[in-house]
Assembly symmetry: C2
Homo-oligomer: 231 residues x 2
């Protein structure tokens, strides 16, 4: 049994890195910090572990507090533990990343946090090590998305091929040829074409697609080859 004198017992925080896509740009959701010190500075949405909560549970709670929703895609990214990362009190923070469809949440956000979506290139100065958290999360997203079809979490149920391509271009910070892109995606058995068109982006309109149920039968190769040159 450890001796209390030698071992530290810090506060445990969870911070939520929330990625969103508005069919144009990849964004992160930031809030104005409510606590002193650094009150009203921009930061990730966060909170402290309470009672018998695990970090996963705390992150779900914190995420629900901001978005009003449960069951949002969420993954643990990394734990930050430098001694003086929070000058107020020794705190270790477990960072989670969520992917959400911006349009679905625009109206539901808890307004008391003054949350705002920022383009990744326009993220303001953040408190503590939150800037580093974002770059860890961005890196994680690239690698994860190279191996699994998770970027669909950022899209609405129905989406168009051009929207999907734009998303991949944003995440991997690259340009893709649209002929090759749609050949790959449509050849993947991943997508189901709908009869409906999205007319918002062009006069001709682009057909909507949905993720096909059987994402199991999916051929990972498709995404790998899209992505590997950008990692």
């Amino acid at each position: 049994m450890p001796q209390p004198s030698k071992y530290i017992k810090p506060l445990i925080a969870v911070d939520c890195l929330i990625f969103g896509f508005d069919n144009q740009t990849l964004k992160v959701l930031l809030i104005k910090r409510k606590l002193q010190p650094y009150q009203n500075e921009w930061s990730l949405m966060g909170g402290y572990l309470e009672g018998e909560e695990s970090a996963d549970e705390a992150a779900s709670r914190v995420l629900k507090e901001l978005t009003g929703r449960e069951g949002i895609f969420m993954e643990q990214i990394k734990t930050f533990s430098k001694f003086d990362r929070d000058p107020t009190e020794r705190t270790i923070s477990v960072v989670y990343s969520s992917l959400i469809d911006v349009t679905k949440f625009e109206t539901q956000l808890n307004h008391s946090y003054e949350a705002h979506w920022f383009k990744l290139s326009e993220v303001p100065k953040l408190i503590f090590d939150h800037t580093e958290m974002i770059s860890s999360g961005r890196d994680y997203l690239k690698k994860k998305a190279a191996l699994q079809p998770i970027l669909f979490e950022l899209l609405a149920d129905k989406f168009t091929i051009p929207q999907l391509q734009q998303l991949y271009e944003e995440v991997f910070e690259t340009q893709l040829d649209k002929r090759n892109f749609s050949r790959k995606l449509l050849g993947s058995t991943l997508l189901k074409k709908l009869d409906e068109k999205d007319k918002s982006g062009s006069k001709k309109g682009a057909f909507y697609y949905q993720l096909d149920q059987q994402i199991n039968h999916y051929n990972f190769n498709v995404l790998l080859n899209l992505a590997y040159s950008e990692l």
Copy 2:
């Protein structure tokens, strides 16, 4: 500023998941726990955060304590935080994974820990959630190795193509065709052939190779294609 009453302040542990390869099998290094309770049960090598240490620093210290070495490849994998994961006292554990060359460390191990290498298929019952830690780490290793040439950390400076193939087969739990394997690897500009042969594995002997300095120019495609079908 958080109120001490509402928020928890647990002990912070680090646990080291140490992978090794003996040119045959992928293994993990386990120790006999020294602390009560569960004394003498098998577990990952671990320790508690002390003083102003970050988790990275604590993990390095713990790893050095067991192996006698510094500068070993090490990465943070995941943080485990379930309420009752340690029934003794609320403890949150940050798990790290290391890759080491078994032969290099066989003799240097700190014997007071009674460390032992176990095949992944023969890991005994472990304390707490350490079994889950191993499976998280194994999963992480696959994904990481699919995107980056890290498995060389598990080999000696000099290694043969058959050894390397055996390692990839172990990590990805698959069989690979040796003609295709060597064609890919030798075509990658990743390896430099030496004049020396390893005669231990066969009568003919296999030429040694080394990692070429310029791992930057490396073509990730090589590893991706080796790996994607196994993820």
